[in-house]
């Protein structure tokens, strides 16, 4: 009940936060600052940032969920540990290094940033897919098989619905972490809110730096809220 209330309140708080950032970005700003912080420019940076996160997270889900499913099938169970190992490596190498590596292959731009973010967000999705599916009571899976569900039907009708809350928590983690990490995309020329931060730092313009940082934080909270709301809705539907 309390979490529902929090879920309903959050958009209002986020909107208030966005208005506050907008006001503090423009009030008393000089011409140079206004050039970087014009509402249109800010909106562009936010869009760039969101595109980076969305594409990389969707790609991570598209790869990690099937991989997690495969790793929990009886025939391929031995695949699990090596897969998690690879994903762990992806997670433990600093993002900036992943970006540098990707940069040496694909050069400057959106694609490079997406590859870096994608590699970084595989682990949480994969780990939670495996944990969620492995956490389904084996007796229930056997009941489903014993009643004549094909393996695909067991997965779709029983395992996925039961693993869903854990799985979606992994996607949520990956997406939120991506919002923060995408601030580094500016180093490979992919834009985003990181651009504001670096411009602010390079020119010693705190107003620009803070605006970039605050918008990144707001965006992370908004993404977190959106996925939490989606999880709540999809879980509630199954309960009615």
């Amino acid at each position: 009940m309390r979490s529902r209330l929090k879920l309903l309140m959050t958009p209002f708080l986020l909107a208030a936060g966005a208005v506050a950032v907008g006001i503090s970005a423009h009030r008393g700003a000089d011409v140079a600052e206004l050039g970087v912080l014009a509402t249109g420019t800010l909106a562009l940076r936010v869009r760039e940032h969101l595109a980076l996160c969305a594409v990389s997270t969707v790609l991570a889900v598209a790869v990690a969920v099937p991989a997690g499913v495969a790793a929990t099938r009886p025939a391929l169970r031995r695949l699990g540990p090596p897969l998690l190992f690879v994903a762990n490596v992806g997670q433990s190498v600093p993002t900036i290094a992943v970006l540098a590596l990707a940069f040496s292959v694909t050069g400057i731009g959106f694609r490079t940033a997406v590859i870096g973010l994608w590699a970084y967000s595989l682990l949480p999705v994969l780990r939670n897919t495996v944990a969620g599916l492995a956490g389904v009571d084996p007796a229930i899976v056997e009941a489903a098989r014993g009643m004549g569900m094909s393996p695909a039907q067991v997965l779709r009708r029983v395992e996925f619905p039961l693993a869903w809350p854990v799985l979606v928590a992994g996607i949520r983690t990956a997406a939120v972490v991506n919002v923060g990490t995408a601030a580094l995309a500016t180093f490979v020329g992919a834009g985003g809110l990181g651009t504001l931060i670096t411009v602010g730092l390079d020119n010693q313009r705190d107003r620009i730096l803070y605006t970039g940082a605050a918008l990144t934080a707001l965006l992370a909270l908004a993404v977190d809220w959106a996925i939490a709301a989606l999880a709540e809705l999809t879980t509630a539907n199954r309960r009615s």
Partner: protein
Amino acid sequence: MIRYEEATKRYGGGPPAVDRLTLEVPAGQTCVLVGPSGGGKTTALKMVNRLVEPTSGRVLIDGRDVASTDPVTLRRGIGYVIQQVGLFPHLDVAANVATVPRLLGWDRRRIDARVDELLDLVGLEPATYRHRKPDELSGGQRQRVGVARALAADPPILLMDEPFGAVDPVTRARLQDEFLRLQRTLRRTVVLVTHDIDEALRLGDRLAVLATGGRLEQYGTPADVLARPATPFVADFVGAGRTLRRLDLLSARDALSPCAPGADAGGPVLPPTASLSDAMAALLTSDAPAVRVVEAGLPLGVVSLESIRAALRRDAAAATDEPSGDRVS
């Protein structure tokens, strides 16, 4: 009809879990696989719906080797009730019961009607329980839904693995009564697993006593197993109370001796369908030498200690290959 032929299961290189099991369950009868844990009861049960494939030997349903049937098709034709019920926690009662009909592609109206019919059959008011989730039900109610789910597509065969294991003794006794009532009208071929000898004696037309290592020690009617245990293991497993248990399986009618002319009109009175253990209890708690058996006001005879003794002797000597028709539950 289900037939095991030398069915053996080994896991890895270890000793067999089920060892050359050969037995036949006639259509419409309840066969109880009973024995201590480690006896391979559940393994033997799962051979029927191919959740376990025998290492050697085979299992036949109506003369056809199950290994030659597609497992998914095979299982849709066999009702399955598992240990701890195994209801799908994310689905409501109606959706749980509708599992197999949905897999079979029944239309929605037919499924809804069938779900209501089944909930009625197992004693759950459909209007009240249709939309409950498993975690909103008591243990006994969950068991009932489990049975309704297994019966949904009207399968001729029912496999039940400790179906009444997860409930308190009072509820268990009631569920057992209901099972017997259902089975009297539905006449399914049932294979039921339990470690509880009392439950086995109560529910089974035939008992298969399995010892550790998956060896079949005895296969026979409850009266058989009680009166003539085939091995010391069976005698030990059935327990010291087996003579008293045999009294449960015989009725006053089996031990009637003629009324002594001008017998005392006092003393306890029982109907002929009362069990001999009721008669024994009546004898022990009164001073009378015999219990009078009366049906519809007419005296049929008396039951005394001697006549009970004689009935037990007759029962032990009788060739009881078929289950006795006058068992008292």
